[in-house]
Amino acid sequence: MATTKASGGPAIATTPATLSYQYLAFGALVAFFLVAPFFIYPVFLMKALCFGLFASAFNLLVGYVGLLSFGHAIFLGSAGYATAHAAKVWGFPPELAILVGTAAAGALGALIGAIAIRRQGIYFAMTTLALAQMLYFFALQAPFTGGEDGIQAVPRGTMFGVLDLGQTMTMYWVVLGIFLGGFLLVYRTIHSPMGQVLKAIRENEPRAVSLGYKVDQYKLVAFVLSAALSGLAGGTKALVFQLASLTDVHWTMSGEVVLMTLLGGLGTVFGPVVGAFVMVTLEHYLAQLGAWVTIVQGIIFVICVLTFRRGIVGELARILKKPL
């Protein structure tokens, strides 16, 4: 996918000067989330953090490898089920439960990725969507997922035996820690030698093949990493809300994460987090209006695609002439 053609030129070389800009932005991000819970409802912020990590993981795939997965909700949702099941039925402590969820999403990612990367472009998008829909029906019918009710009253537990997650603020700091860990992993991957190969695949796949890179392997590794990080977000979210439900595996959620990323800025480091924050805020305030949420989301989609393809952070980066 030629995202860069639409989002403002090829990736700018990360010289020390441009990197310092990103450190500045990262500092601002951390500062915001350190101060925010004292002014904003922490549960709302935790939701934004979970979706921010989810969108960042998704963006790793679409923004840097050019693979538009339209079934990413399945990783968020299945990790939620796995985490909830581990915590509630097996009585696992939260850190292990989240690990189970992340591993489950990673394994699913390996399976779906291996099948889907056999097709490219639109076919890849349709394949991931269809495979995710198959797993949605599985989640609907399987005995341990609780059908329409989902898994409710998931215990948050005590992390490492010391952190009582029942307390909202403790939970918040843990979620923030998980978010930052995941976000930095995405950042590290993008700026690693592997990240450079991924970008090369996005820009010109045949050339990457002719340079001797095993393109399919790189794509699969990126897909699994993205799925696992989405799972990390989903498992954490299940503990925050003490609930794993069908909403998180339905394809509308896959559409939402595309929208978050598109709105924030495809292929930007901070875009997905900003996009997720904006979307969660919108949904929070539009929640009473029923189907209007969908309409507003659809309109934002149309506007983004027609006139605003760089997204919020992408436009900001263009104005500042710095990669963000």
Binding site: Q133, L262, T294
Partner: protein
């Protein structure tokens, strides 16, 4: 056979054939649009739903029955499609294909949301037209007239579309324009108008499927939302290379789904996706697709 009463078997096979007819018409419309516009029309499910609603609307507000709806609904929805192509889709042709998918996805959300606001999520009933009520006894099963009509009409529409595209001069222009629009324009063919009309036609096909579906399923805002994903799977299985591929795969997968409902009902909703995974592993370009 295998302890399954023939009544149930043939009943499910007929149901599968009808679902197959809808899969075929919808994936055919997608294939026609994709062929010339290179856009995956995610709004196809919403346009199918609009066709059904148009039929319902014509009956309840204008007193025009099924036969009028069969002509007017696809025309009206097709015109809306043309408007859409002129104002929005046209701006995306120079971009990556995926932006077309994203735009039509957004449009589908808007359309479905608007209908949900207006009519709620429960369905509106639409009666089978008087001429097609009842059924005939074939000896081994009772064949409802309306269902037979749906299968026959959709087969006829599919084959007519295939004939026009693959066997006529107009179709030759269309196929040439997908290969090299600049060259075809140089011959004096108005390619942009052809693209617009093609989109309108594809959307009209979806709406026609919606009118046919109205008396069978309830007319509801979300009737196309989950169907479109199955149709995407059908498209991936068939490969978008050929028109005939879309038709054959559509009907065949409907039948497979019907058979699964008889022998292993739990898997009936997922069997098409499983087939898709297997086909992708064995033949990544799809059954009828050309490897790119």
């Amino acid at each position: 056979m295998f302890g399954i009463p023939p009544q149930a078997l043939f009943g499910q096979l007929l149901l599968g054939l009808i679902n197959g007819a809808f899969y075929a018409m919808l994936s055919l419309g997608l294939a026609v649009i994709f062929g010339l516009l290179n856009i995956i029309n995610f709004a196809h499910g919403a346009q199918y739903m609009m066709g059904a609603f148009a039929a319902w609307f014509l009956l309840t507000h204008a007193g025009l029955g099924y036969w009028w709806a069969l002509i007017l609904a696809p025309l009206a929805v097709g015109l809306l499609g043309i408007l859409l192509e002129r104002t929005m889709l046209r701006r995306l042709y120079h971009l990556d294909h995926l932006y077309g998918l994203l735009l039509t996805f957004g449009l589908a959300l808007v359309i479905q949301g608007l209908f949900q606001n207006q009519y709620g999520s429960s369905g509106q009933p639409y009666l089978i037209p008087a001429e097609l009520q009842g059924g005939r006894n074939l000896g081994f099963m009772v064949l409802p007239n309306y269902r037979a009509w749906v299968v026959v009409l959709s087969l006829a529409v599919c084959l007519a579309t295939w004939y026009v595209i693959e066997r006529t001069k107009l179709g030759a222009y269309l196929r040439a324009a997908t290969e090299n629009p600049t060259l075809v324009r140089a011959f004096g063919v108005n390619v942009p108008r052809m693209i617009t009309l093609t989109y309108g036609f594809g959307v009209g096909l979806a709406a026609l499927a919606g009118v046919l579906a109205a008396p069978i399923y309830q007319v509801s805002p979300l009737m196309g939302a989950d169907l479109i994903i199955v149709v995407f799977a059908v498209v991936v299985i068939g490969g978008m290379g050929s028109i005939m591929g879309a038709i054959v795969t559509g009907f065949a997968l409907g039948l497979v789904e019907g058979l699964t409902k008889v022998f292993y009902p739990e898997a009936s909703k997922t069997v098409i996706f499983v087939i898709m995974a297997v086909v992708l592993l064995l033949k990544p370009a799809g059954l009828f697709g050309r490897a790119s």
